[in-house]
Amino acid sequence: MSAVPELWRDLLASMPLRGPALLLTGIVRSEPGWVEATARVPLGHPLVVAGAAPCFLGLELGAQAAAAMEALSRSREASDREPGVGYLVRVREASFLARHLPVDTTLRVTARLEGAALPLAIHRITVGTAEVDLVCARIATHRGSS
């Protein structure tokens, strides 16, 4: 699970999140409608309590992967479309297969586009370690009006 530095460097400028809010750390692979990213929840994250990150934080990681996929898609299409924010507006269903996400550990995050009717998009996301999935969900994001 190693990231591709040039993909990530190009992507950073168009991601709507900055600083500690951005939990993605790199892009491993990307193709139209699908992305695999790496992420890390630092010990100092505001939702980490007593050294443990709540499992539902995986939904944020998935939403960030979906935003990264959208940004990569814009770049691939050389689109002049304004970058969207990618607000998480709905979680249709989510399974939390572990109580906590490991902190200060490289996590694998995938997002697959299942459908879109702009400004909404539906994604199937997974979050896990290299060995095992920890969170699976179907989420909807809204591009916003940036």
Partner: protein, 114 residues
């Protein structure tokens, strides 16, 4: 997020601290509490209501309808869901629903024991 007591055991009040680090970079120039921040308040309310440590196993039909920002006063309203160990919630702010949905928790370990 600071919690405040309420007379109704279904209702839990919180204030979204303007200093919360959840706003750092989310988003640049437009501070919005992430959806997982709503869930953190709901999880805290569920744990206080049940008076036990809860393990979240699933969520269904969560809707984030109204953004919460620095300093917002929030009510988390809980109701038992139709399924065992499930909780319906609404997060309300200024009379509007900010988010709602259904959370499912692991049954307590003593369920089914004589």
């Amino acid at each position: 997020m600071a919690a405040h007591p309420s007379d109704d055991d279904r209702v839990f009040r919180f204030r979204v601290s303007p200093e919360s680090r959840c706003f750092d970079g989310h988003f640049a120039g437009l501070p919005i509490l992430p959806g997982v921040g709503h869930l953190a308040m709901v999880a805290s309310a569920c744990a206080r209501r049940s008076r036990r440590d809860l393990a979240l196993t699933a969520a269904r039909d969560l809707r984030f309808q109204r953004p919460l920002g620095p300093g917002d006063e929030v009510e988390v309203v809980l109701d038992d869901g139709a399924e065992p160990c499930s909780v319906r919630f609404e997060v309300r702010c200024r009379g509007e629903v900010a988010s709602r949905g259904l959370l499912l928790f692991e049954p307590p370990t003593d369920v089914g024991r004589p």
